[in-house]
Symmetry: C2
């Protein structure tokens, strides 16, 4: 199911291939986020053009709207949003914690009120997996408890215990369903190294198809996050895909790849596009350039800023997309100023192309032993 094709001689980075129900994926990879069964402002044929291998959908949102019955009747989520390649869904747990009006963790599951209409729901581990089975995704995530970045030792330890208990229930439900769907367990432990060890020990004992690092980038300092990543990633099962949830900036992804992470998702490229921030590779000499690795640099630019009003250069001369190598920055500036939907689309395409290209550069660099 998961094959490591090459290991870096310099770092823990690995090049691999993950086989899923809807196709094989080259690792390390990045998943654009289709929160409500659509990557905001772009279409699935554009995702194809960008070379997207897999996308991520949010169970919490789709459970509330349109509901799992509609998607199941439609023939599954691939049919629903018209995407034939792999899809990963989260468990819904994270959104319950971040979006729901009221939530209460019980031994059975998490009780919450919908942020849409206030309706009450109980999300249990079994229910989360059943929803994901109805969606028909390729990779399902277990329901976990994600403590806040500043939670104390006792709270984190308790979250670990519930997470492990729920993971066992998730596994039971997974085994009753279509085995082509893969189940991933999620490690917690916040910034406590011994609690990371404890959580990893428990979840990896269940021998699942893959494992995720949860509970990072939830408010802790970046140094602390780097320290934990460096500490725990190499200890994860070597022959299973490793997924760092919700991260991150390009340099954070590069750092994590060096620790041996294989999978990423993040709202940054799509969300920041909506605020007019563009990610682009650049020369080292450019102002505010940030180094990624091996002489690869990037910068961000806020195309809404006045300095782009008369910048008639293409949005991205190096882009493979005609929409980006023909339209000018001045035009994109104008689209943002006049709040035209096309502006969001162009900025989103720019940022996703950057993130997906970054992953290709990373895979190339691992292959060439440059990372």
């Amino acid at each position: 199911m998961f094959k490591i094709k090459q290991k870096s001689k310099k770092t823990q980075a690995r090049l691999g291939q993950l086989k899923t129900w809807h196709g094989e994926i080259k690792t390390p990879f990045f998943m654009p986020i289709a929160t409500k069964a659509a990557v905001k402002n772009i279409s699935t044929d554009e995702l194809e053009k960008l070379g997207t291998q897999i996308i991520l959908a949010n169970t919490y949102h789709l459970y509330l709207q349109p509901g799992k019955q509609i998607i199941k009747k439609h023939g599954g989520i691939h049919e629903f949003l018209n995407w034939s390649k792999p899809i990963l869904s989260d468990s819904g747990g994270y959104q319950v914690f971040s979006l729901a009006k009221i939530r209460k963790i019980k031994p059975d599951g998490v009780e919450f009120q919908s942020h849409l209409d206030g309706s009450k729901h109980l999300l249990t581990p079994v229910k989360s997996i059943k929803i994901q089975q109805s969606l028909g995704v390729d990779i399902m995530m277990a329901l976990d408890v994600c403590p806040a970045g500043n939670a104390d030792f006792a709270a984190v330890r308790q979250a670990n215990e519930i997470t492990y208990d729920w993971l066992k229930k998730c596994k039971q439900q997974w085994l009753k369903g279509n085995k082509k769907q893969l189940l991933f367990g999620i490690m917690q432990g916040s910034t406590f190294k011994n609690l990371r060890d404890e959580s990893l020990g428990k979840i990896s004992s269940l021998d699942l198809p893959g494992y995720a690092i949860g509970g990072l980038a939830v408010g802790e300092p970046r140094d602390k996050m780097y320290e934990i990543l460096q500490y725990i990633t190499p200890k994860m099962p070597i022959n299973k895909p490793r997924y760092l949830m919700g991260l991150g900036r390009p340099e954070e992804i590069v750092f994590a790849v060096k620790q041996g992470v294989d999978m990423f998702d993040c709202v940054i490229p799509t969300r920041e596009a909506r605020h007019g921030r563009l990610y682009q590779f650049c020369a080292q000499s450019e102002k505010d350039s940030i180094e990624l690795f091996d002489n690869l640099f990037y910068k961000t630019l806020i195309v809404k800023n006045n300095q782009y009003k008369e910048n008639f250069e293409p949005i991205n001369q190096a882009s493979n997309l005609e929409l980006l190598n023909t339209h000018s920055k001045a035009y994109l500036h104008h689209l943002f100023k006049t709040q035209e939907g096309l502006g969001l689309r162009l900025a989103t395409l720019n940022n996703l192309e950057f993130y997906l290209e970054l992953m290709r550069e990373i895979r190339q660099a691992i292959k060439a032993n440059n990372l």
Copy 2:
């Protein structure tokens, strides 16, 4: 510049070809509206795919934002929005009347305050043409005075006089510029037949490349509008293109074509798309079908309505666009319910494809003597 290739034996309808700076256009035709230099929610490559021959841009909006200097420096509006085919711009007059905070008609021009920042401006006939010359459009519209649908005889007569006076000034400015840009005069006269005659007599005496029917669909009853169209259109110069401004529903376009109109623009397909109303051809037997001509029927459907929640059929099986013949109505319903930008794009593509296909059907029917 304008050639009539065939005249209908049944009606006043004509099939023709209009030669412009940026290419030839088959008449009768419809212009999608790119108010602020973008057809809302779609891209110029999609306009190409739809077979769009020409688009319309709004002088008022572009004058205020980004301003004519930016567009001129950029190399003109075609470069700015990345569209190599013809573009028509209105004079800005209509938006001054409908959008500006305060406006005052003076003999020299119209004084107004920007709806964006309250800044004061004076739009004169010469200034309107100068702006359109800076934009570099293919067809420029003269600045006119458009009285409200319920204006009295005296007010309409006065509007006619100012409109004629301004048209002469527009012509002088036009003759100083690039003759490849065509200038069209606008007839007014509201629903008074003798004032329509008067206005037409005056403007056609100036021997311009084309003429428009203004001041219809501004609040008068549809019957009255039809009566005026039927009365005045055949009296317009036979060998000049005739443009009915701002209209209309599909059956109104068919009616106007039968009176001899060659050119149309309307916000309906793009605006109603944003409200989730889809235009589609259908069989006569379908509920609420509306006849166009010669056994051609259409209907509209509100895809936001609950009845489409579980409609798994393609948005439009007959569409030439993969986005429309693969995505389902249920998915589009979901996109509207969750306010995803992709929904606006799909609905806009659907409606523009319908309007452009309607014009192809009309041209075909004239050729076959069926209209």
